[in-house]
């Protein structure tokens, strides 16, 4: 008479056998589209319906203020906030392209070093930019404004424009602006960043003047952040598929068999979900996948540079411009500053709308998803130059060795992550 223990081992053997047979035999057409309760729970973690609420933003007291968001929206689309009057945030973050620009390297006043990432989902990330050199969305927004290749406008110019074009909206959210003569007395340009004359002008200002300028400047970032926190994505076909799995009891025709096969590979053998996970399909971490260097004479050190810039940044959560106390800045306080894995590592991008946001990688090295998948299928290790790299770059991926058909299936799945453009959503429109 079999004991309970024996029964258990018999059962587990049977289970093991099932597992083995599943992995050894390819799916019969019917099984491919069948999902168990455990599968559904697993897939649900990737669905927009599992999206957690926006993370608290103690460093920005107006992060969820509607008036601030409305001001931020105006600023986001306003080309007057640039040196030539033609560049707005929306120049490189275009709503109809899911807030990207479709270019390898972005074109504004000059050409940027990296590709403009989408701002969708940025509010959930602890680090901003490809190298994470900013720790909040409000601080991030300040970078492109002063960058000579982007808006090219110094903070002194910017605050004058705010006083000129947005005095009421600004004061409604942030309280009173300094009197008119304060702005009249400011030099034409001035910033601790920028060229020699801009820096000299900045040094010539009194400490109080610098503080007033920096306050308005950082508030501009906070309004832009409040706006970007309003951007929502409607469900993509993948999300509808997951909901349908729950509604229908385990199978759904929202995705076709190739897309489902691609999804199984994505979650399984192709290993994509190890970093591209959660509702935004990213772990918000930094990895080196060995994408080719755009310029081998000036390698991109990625997170290694990002950390070095971040610790010197004037506008972090720990700075005087943050509304948070130091105890609310855990990510900054316990920032990892060293580690060979930082070299050449870039933030895992979201895969939401990936099919509609080519080209790919931090500098648009790959024009289409076929090129991306062919890199993952048989990657070359990262370029290493001992003269430029502090250590041999870490390498985070293994060759997938997938068949051409399987690659096509993964791409088919990736295309199910594209949401319909919510062009009627007020936040997706130019105000």
């Amino acid at each position: 008479m079999p004991t309970d223990q024996f029964k258990t081992s018999l059962l587990s053997f049977a289970l093991l056998f099932c597992t083995l047979s599943v992995s050894m035999l390819s799916f019969a057409t019917g099984d491919m589209a069948k999902f168990t309760e455990a599968d559904k729970q697993f897939l649900k973690q990737f669905s927009l319906q599992s999206l957690p609420p926006l993370p608290a933003a103690p460093d920005n007291s107006v992060a969820d203020n509607l008036q601030a968001a409305k001001l931020g929206q105006k600023l986001f689309f306003d080309p007057r906030l640039s040196a030539n009057g033609a560049i707005a945030c929306s120049t490189c973050h275009q709503p109809q392209l899911y807030f990207t620009d479709g270019l390898a390297l972005s074109q504004a006043l000059g050409t940027t070093r990296r590709s403009a990432p989408s701002v969708l989902g940025a509010a959930w990330s602890p680090w901003l930019f490809w190298d994470g050199r900013k720790d909040s969305l409000w601080s991030q927004a300040l970078g492109p404004l002063e960058s000579s290749d982007e808006h090219g406008i110094s903070r002194v110019q910017l605050v004058k424009k705010i006083a000129l074009h947005y005095p009421e909206q600004y004061q409604q959210v942030f309280g009173s602006l300094p009197p008119q003569h304060f702005f009249k007395n400011l030099p034409a340009i001035g910033s601790p960043q920028g060229d020699a004359s801009s820096r000299a002008n900045w040094r010539a200002l009194s400490a109080d003047e610098r503080e007033d300028v920096n306050r308005i400047f950082s508030n501009v970032g906070k309004a832009l952040m409040a706006y970007q926190r309003r951007l929502k994505l409607p469900p993509a076909r993948f999300d509808t598929f997951v909901s349908d799995l729950f509604a229908s009891g385990g199978d759904s025709e929202v995705l076709n068999l190739d897309e489902i096969a691609g999804m199984r590979l994505f979650m399984g053998r192709a290993n994509c979900a190890s970093c591209h996970n959660g509702p935004w399909f990213t772990n918000h971490e930094f990895h080196n996948i060995g994408a080719p260097e755009r310029n081998r004479n000036q390698v991109d050190l990625g997170r290694f540079e990002g950390v070095a810039t971040l610790v010197k940044d004037e506008f972090t959560c720990l700075s005087q411009w943050s509304d948070a106390g130091p105890e609310d800045c855990a990510e900054m306080r316990f920032l990892k500053r060293q580690g060979q894995e930082l070299v050449g590592a870039f933030k895992t991008p979201t895969l939401r709308n990936i099919g509609a946001t080519a080209p790919y990688m931090q500098a648009g090295q790959y024009a289409n998803l076929e090129e991306v998948l062919s890199h993952y299928n048989l990657p070359k290790p990262p370029f290493y130059d001992p003269k430029q790299h502090p250590n041999r770059p870490h390498f985070d991926i293994l060759p997938l060795r997938l068949e051409q058909k399987e690659i096509e299936q993964i791409i088919a799945f990736l295309n199910t992550l594209t949401s319909p453009l919510p062009l009627h959503d007020q936040w997706w429109q130019q105000p």
């Binding site: 309760e37 455990a38 697993f42 199984r264 990895h287 855990a330 500053r337 290790p381 390498f395 060759p399």
Partner: protein, 344 residues
């Protein structure tokens, strides 16, 4: 022999904590036997533990000596064999052969003795560690909520490892398939095949206790998740969230080690990466109980956490003066490291 006897004695006292000694004392005392106070009990356990640890260390050095002897014998043996090959004189060969047989037997004995002693010393050390844990628990009960290994909050499914120990793509490197066990993540009826890189799993006999002895045996330490609530569920390690730990640090007598400078390094042995944050120890909640801030794990799996400890010299000197009875090893501790293995 004397060693084994001592060992047997030590074990007897361990097995019967209120055993023969107490009974003997009770029978001679005129007053009825009093149950030992918790503190006295802890002290007694810790004394046993340190004695056992000493025995373990001695056994280990004997093991080391045996292995060194074996190495020496092996060199002699090699020389003999070389000599044997060179000579054509059969009489000399005969003598050399006999010597070789003797040496071979000796080599085997020495190797076996070395191995046996090593196993024995490991067993003794583990036993001593368990006793230390017991003693420290008696002494520090108010700060020890859990004696179990740290576990991760399992409300989310496992996302597998994102990278590997291999640093370059080489034609003969293992393929993902070969290195991948595709299994249901939760052992249930999942048809999705979620990869787990087998080679990155912790060895089955890994010691994942939350109590550990420092490398140089100056300190005994315990870690647990620090919560301000009384919610036991909150004492698991969260995934991808900055949280706090408590590090309890004592000397071998169970006394608080206060004012130490503690640096933390962590990594995943299966991957070539460290922690996503830099945890720090900035303050003590009370002497010997350190608050570890900024701990975060971005994935499940095998993690190693090392605490590098530099005692505050001044305090150490004072301790030595006020505690003249403390043993030589704990009077002047120096830079030392406590390592914890975690399988989250």
């Amino acid at each position: 022999m004397a060693l084994l006897l001592a060992l047997a004695l030590a074990l007897t006292t361990i097995i019967s904590p209120s055993g023969s000694n107490a009974a003997a004392r009770a029978s001679t005392d005129t007053e009825p036997a009093q149950p030992p106070t918790a503190a006295a009990e802890a002290t007694r356990i810790l004394q046993n533990a340190t004695a056992l640890l000493d025995t373990a260390n001695q056994t280990q050095s004997r093991s080391r000596q045996s292995i060194l002897d074996a190495n020496k014998t092996r060199r002699q043996l090699k020389k003999l064999q070389a000599k044997k090959r060179r000579t054509n004189d059969s009489a000399v060969r005969q003598v050399l052969s006999e010597q070789t047989t003797v040496l071979t037997t000796r080599l085997k004995q020495e190797q076996q003795q070395g191995a046996e002693l090593r196993i024995e010393s490991t067993r003794l050390r583990q036993r001593a560690k368990k006793l230390l844990e017991q003693g420290i628990y008696q002494k520090w009960r108010s700060w020890i909520n859990s004696r179990e290994p740290l576990v991760m909050d399992d409300s989310r499914s496992l996302f597998m490892a994102h990278n590997t120990r291999i640093r370059s793509v080489h034609p003969n490197m293992p393929t993902l398939e070969a290195n991948t066990a595709t299994a249901p993540a939760d052992g249930s009826s999942m048809s999705l095949q979620i990869p787990t890189l087998k080679a990155q799993n912790a060895p089955p006999d890994l010691n994942i206790d939350s109590f550990q002895l420092s490398r140089e045996q100056n300190y005994f330490a315990h870690i647990e998740v620090h919560t301000t609530t009384s919610d036991r569920a909150a004492e698991t390690v969260p995934l991808n969230k900055i949280h706090q730990w408590r590090l309890l640090l004592t000397d071998m007598d169970g006394a608080a080690v206060s004012g130490a400078k503690i640096e933390i390094a962590g990594h995943m042995p299966g991957h070539v990466h460290g922690l996503p944050t830099q945890p720090v120890v900035n303050r003590e909640i009370e002497p010997g109980v350190y608050l570890v801030e900024g701990v975060k794990f971005q994935m499940k799996g095998w993690w190693v956490m090392k605490f590098h400890i530099t005692p505050e010299k001044k305090l150490t000197a004072e301790n030595a003066i006020s505690n003249p009875g403390s043993t030589a090893t704990t009077a002047f501790p120096y830079l030392d490291t406590v390592t914890f293995n975690l399988v989250l």
